[in-house]
């Protein structure tokens, strides 16, 4: 019995897509010119699908801090946070994030994926319930799978559907609600206020993942819960360094007095090496920079609105009514058109993400664009122009 036979359907699906000149899952960036441009297969390309929302990947103080950290502390820690892998800089980074969120405690994980895995799997015990949104990120689903809890799923962003399920759960059981501020595929915001208020009414603890909203949502860039004024209803925040912070890693913050015990029970925190000193240094510098980035934040939102308006006016089918985040997703009718469109757009010199099932809800095919605070408005106009050219070349009907 060949263990790989079970993937034959996946292979067949991939082979049925008509890629000729490029493959969205095998793109190689030959050279990174800046936060917003790269050379791909010899072509000068505008990057519009990198989640680099705040454009921190070339932030000067972050670059300098990372270089200094390599010289001072070497290339890696070669150990777990609970053994030899905690340096002074890891503690300082945790303090920086705790201060950023105005909370008492912070734990830094090696990736954002592991932050969700580590928090959810540790919090959900045998007799507990974890209640999640159906469109949750894979890291949330995997955290649930790894926990011993009973998993309850509600319809995406549907407060009433969630409440109906909460009513059916035992009153005195341990319950954790997990939601995201912004959902990564369509870029739609959650009704965080209503969801958290109902969650609290039923005695749930709450975890809000602000991976795709940290940096630009809310007055201080803490995310959607801050923007909606409901941070007091959040028991745990989870976030990442791989988007607005411009490097890699994840974190969780909380005011819970017993929070630190999670360092001894969260397996994805314990059984992996800690972040290298250079990453820790650049993350710390970037978060400090984000605090002072009011202008960048404003420009990011302008870019998002400009792109959304431009594509909508051109007649593309948008996934949200207006720009709810820097993620602007365009709906394409079928896999064939999706494939052709993505490929032609790349040849025109714009990189976006082709998002396909199972990453997308309801079997959708999307061109997922994420804008950066460092995109100029001229670049945004250029992206819109090349979307239109591409539509014309591949025969996508626009409904302007």
């Amino acid at each position: 019995m060949d263990l790989l036979d079970k993937f034959d359907a996946t292979v067949a699906l991939r082979e049925s897509l008509p890629f000729e000149k490029a493959d969205p899952f095998k793109v190689v960036m030959d050279k990174i010119i800046s936060e917003t441009e790269a050379i791909i297969a010899g072509r000068h390309t505008i990057l519009a699908g990198t989640n680099n929302y705040m454009g921190m990947t070339f932030n000067e103080s972050s670059l300098a801090a990372a270089k200094q950290a390599i010289d001072d502390f070497g290339t890696g820690t070669t150990g777990s946070r609970v053994l030899n892998g905690t340096y002074g800089s890891h503690k300082a980074l945790e303090q920086t994030i705790a201060d950023f969120y105005g909370m008492d405690h912070c734990m830094v994980f090696s990736t954002g994926y592991q932050a969700n895995l580590g928090m959810i799997s540790a919090l959900g015990g045998k007799d507990d319930f974890i209640i999640i949104d159906a469109d949750s990120h894979a890291s949330i689903y995997d955290g649930c799978k790894m926990s011993d809890a009973t998993i309850v799923r509600f319809k995406h962003n549907d407060v009433e559907n969630m409440e109906r399920r909460l009513k059916r759960l035992p009153e005195d059981a341990g319950k954790l609600i997990v939601i995201e501020g912004i959902y990564s595929m369509l870029g739609d915001a959650a009704p965080v206020k209503e969801l958290l208020e109902v969650a609290k009414k039923y005695g749930c603890m709450t975890l809000v993942d602000e991976a795709h909203s940290m940096g630009f949502s809310g007055e201080n860039g803490r995310g959607v819960a801050e923007e909606l004024g409901v941070e007091h209803l959040v028991d745990f925040y989870v976030g990442t360094f791989s988007k607005s912070v411009g490097t890699v890693g994840g974190f969780a913050v909380s005011n819970h007095p017993k929070f630190d015990v999670l360092r001894f029970v969260s397996r994805p925190y314990i059984f992996t090496a800690s972040l290298p000193p250079s990453v820790v240094a650049s993350a710390t510098a970037s978060i400090e920079a984000i605090k002072r980035s009011g202008n960048r934040r404003a420009h990011l939102w302008e870019n998002a609105r400009q792109l959304h308006t431009g594509l909508k006016t051109a007649g593309f089918k948008m996934c949200t009514e207006k720009a709810e985040s820097p993620i602007i997703a365009v709906h394409l009718p079928d896999p064939m058109m999706g494939t052709k469109f993505w490929e032609q757009l790349l040849l025109e010199g714009v990189y976006v993400n082709m998002a396909a099932p199972p990453a997308t809800p309801a079997g959708m095919f999307l061109m997922r664009v994420s804008v950066c605070a460092q995109h100029t408005s001229e670049q945004i106009d250029e992206i819109i122009k090349r979307f239109k050219t591409t539509a014309e070349k591949v025969g996508l009907e626009l409904t302007a």
Binding site: A134, C144, T150, I151, V152, R153, K155, N161, R164, R165, R168, L169, P358, P361, A362, G363
Partner: protein
């Protein structure tokens, strides 16, 4: 063995999704016979939960391959709730 009444209620919820017109019976499978994709299954699960006023935990779903499996699970959960 699930009661006829439970099966009938579940058949009624499946009927609008039964695009292939498969004859519904206890041994009919969701993926193989009805060819429901995972998203349709998700909506169906939500409908069954609301119809019987229960929770069908996500953890249970991989084991529920046939209509009878679901009917048995529903009856078990309903009786535990009372």
């Amino acid at each position: 063995m699930a009661k006829a009444e439970t099966l009938e209620t579940i058949y009624a919820l499946i009927t609008p999704l039964n695009k292939k017109g498969v004859k519904l019976a206890p041994e009919v499978t969701f993926a193989g016979d009805l060819e429901l994709d995972s998203l349709t299954v998700m909506d169906l699960v939500a409908d069954i939960e609301d119809e019987f006023d229960i929770i069908l935990p996500l953890n249970l779903l991989p084991d529920l391959e046939t209509i009878e499996h679901v009917a048995d699970a529903v009856e078990k959960i309903v009786s535990e709730g009372n």
